[in-house]
């Protein structure tokens, strides 16, 4: 069972993976990241409904051409807002952090324009900082992780279950350092 699970972890593939790397875990940003886009879309949709209600039922634009124009304009505005939210929704799922036994990969894509892949070696990490500020971050258990190496610094915002992620990366770093040291100390045969 353990061997089977290990095999699955080894086989788990993602863009930019080294053949020797073993996948450990992956996560996206906390769902709260989508709260503002969702609220904005809902508020704007509500605004359109209110304008529509006022225009067609209270003021009652009787003439046919202004009524049709108003309806088409409101509908277009509604669709633009909805599609903008949909693109934002997709973008949320295209931002993935993958942790392997050797590296932390940050894969950030958008539907059309962006395709970024940043990774940092675990064994060279000098500092791993966890930052949770404010009551909301502490209650919902998310925050920012800063991974600092000598010449690179990777900041991961809105990390969910930050406590366990922090502990996982810390233990993986120690393991990566220990295996690196062992390889260095073992005589070549």
């Amino acid at each position: 069972m353990v061997a089977h699970h290990h095999n699955l972890l080894t086989c788990t593939d993602f863009p930019g993976k080294d053949p020797g790397e073993v996948f450990q875990s992956s996560f996206r940003q906390h769902w709260i990241r989508m709260l503002w886009p969702f609220t904005k879309t809902s508020l704007l949709t509500l605004l359109i409904f209110t304008i529509g209600f006022l225009t067609f039922f209270i003021i009652d634009v009787g003439q046919s051409t202004p009524r049709h124009l108003m309806l088409v304009f409101l509908l277009l505005f509604f669709l633009i807002i909805q599609f903008e939210f949909l693109v934002r929704f997709y973008r949320y799922f295209l931002y993935v952090i993958v942790v392997t036994d050797r590296r932390v990969h940050r894969i950030k894509k958008t539907i059309l324009t962006t395709d970024e892949h940043e990774c940092v070696d675990l064994w060279v990490l000098q500092e791993i900082d966890k930052r949770q500020r404010g009551p909301i971050q502490n209650i919902l258990g998310f925050g920012s992780l800063t991974l600092e190496a000598q010449d690179t610094c990777m900041t991961l915002h809105f990390v969910p279950h930050i406590e366990s992620r922090y502990n996982e990366i810390m233990s993986l770093r120690e393991r990566a350092r220990a295996s690196g040291r062992r390889m260095f100390l073992e005589p070549k045969q």
Binding site: L9, T12, G52, L71, F93, L94
Partner: protein, 74 residues
């Protein structure tokens, strides 16, 4: 009345096409991010299915809103 049906047809086709194109782009971009990670626990496959269901519900919502608002308020 013909104008209404023309607008309705354009709107329905446009919404469906837009949703389909965006989904195709997303699937292509997400390849290797959510589909391949499925082999560990199966959770990622479920995630993709969940996204698909959400998008389909969103499409139905947009189509219904467009269809009924045009039909009743025209």
């Amino acid at each position: 009345m013909t104008l209404l049906w023309n607008i309705l047809a354009v709107a329905v086709l446009g919404i469906t096409a837009m949703e389909w194109v965006l989904w195709q782009f997303f699937r292509r971009r997400a390849e290797g991010l959510h589909l391949h990670l499925s082999s560990t626990t199966g959770r990622r496959v479920f995630t993709v299915m969940r996204i698909r269901v959400c998008v389909m519900l969103h499409t139905i919502f947009l189509l219904c809103m467009t269809f009924f608002s045009l039909l009743f308020l025209w």
